[in-house]
Symmetry: C2
Subunit: 244 residues, 2 copies
């Protein structure tokens, strides 16, 4: 267990939900009253394994996580990336077994909330139920964009788009100002993009030569967010970051 800094675990979740939905003071305090357990997870470890039937949901408080599936031959496809404030296994409330794994990409801090408490909360406060549902719907919108990218964007635009999206999401939860540096290894990028690590390396080189990305070895830094977005026709609408 770990120092969770100064913030109680809920604050990230609350600020994320509140950013997109109108919540009353009662909603907020009900959310803050949820009993949670906080723990830290080492890099590359599972939060929830494929096939499990968890009885709690987790909130990512700090770090970086992903959903993934493995092929029989060991190759991995990352299905989504998650920034602090996300609840990447919220679906376990209503679908039985995990159809994928949920892992951490770097040392992270996560909070667990029992299903029972969440269900109770949502029955008492429909606005919160709607807010949680909405989270899963935005998730689905991101899946759609990734599907489009995997199907119809070539490698360079696919990479540029992923970086643009992730930077945008980092900014949206207050983790970066303008030019974000994404803590992703090239192998992880390859797993997310459906490419080989070698080809990711080549595409990164190209984007650096275009002065869109920086030359850091250990993280992807965005030099020219505007240019990067133009390069891949990135439009953040599907992230639904502003409240209705």
């Amino acid at each position: 267990m770990q120092t969770l800094g100064h913030q109680p675990g809920h604050s990230r979740l609350l600020s994320k939900l509140a950013a997109n939905t109108a919540l009353s003071d009662e909603d907020r305090s009900a959310l803050l009253a949820l009993p949670v357990t906080v723990r830290s997870v080492a890099a590359d470890r599972d939060i929830v394994a494929h096939g499990e039937r968890p009885n709690h949901c987790t909130v990512l408080l700090e770090g970086f996580a992903c959903r993934y599936k493995l092929a029989p031959d060991g190759r991995r496809q990352i299905l989504s990336l998650h920034v602090p404030g996300d609840m990447p296994d919220l679906q376990s409330l209503h679908v039985e077994a995990m159809d994928h794994g949920l892992a951490v990409l770097r040392p992270s801090l996560v909070a667990s909330i029992a299903h029972a408490h969440l269900i109770e909360l949502m029955e008492a406060r429909p606005a919160l139920a709607a807010a949680f549902w909405r989270e899963t719907l935005v998730d689905a919108a991101i899946y759609r964009e990734w599907l489009f990218g995997l199907g119809r964007r070539e490698a360079s635009a696919r990479l540029a788009h992923l970086v643009s999206e992730t930077a945008e999401r980092f900014v949206s939860v207050g983790l970066a100002e303008h030019a974000a540096a994404l803590p992703l290894k090239q192998i992880q990028l390859a797993d997310a993009l459906g490419l080989s690590p070698v080809h990711v390396n080549r595409v990164l080189k190209e984007l650096r030569e275009r002065h869109l990305l920086g030359a850091s070895r250990s993280a992807i830094e965005v030099l020219d967010a505007r240019g990067l977005a133009a390069f891949c026709a990135f439009n953040a609408g599907y992230l639904y970051l502003e409240a209705a």
Copy 2:
């Protein structure tokens, strides 16, 4: 194919929801009491266009539909397929604008239900709210499987998997017995698989030579569902077809 004649529009929706969730008699009759409008849609027409902000949701009653996105150069990526009983724009309840188009792949019959009525219904009957939410979560599970396929399955397994999945879903709503015939053109398959029509044709040929698919020109018929599933390691778990 389906000659469901002229049942009231709700029956398909009800049977789909009831198949996966325990619904009380009150839930059922509340669902059946929803006011709906039914209309038919000609092949290849949009049900809802990209960018729209609908104030109602639609239930597919008969036919075949898909979500899609278009690239600037006109290429299309199909994001999901929908069989009768599905509500492919349910997300419009909670996210503002459509981030994709919703179209019909063949002549179809759809019902519209006003958002207001749905919201009212779900506030009165939490079990139905949960059932609708669950629908969108299963949707997301299918997105994940497609992401995996686009990223990590080669063309032949990708096609076999799509056919297996779709056949399974047809069966699950009572539209086919064992060997389904999917009413998909090769161009539509290509759009769904992120492939070119030419390559779809070649892969179909291969699967026919393996005696997994039939030789019909106008529809994909499954000759050997078992073999097809084995060929692409299809496992229907992610469709969550049985109730918890």
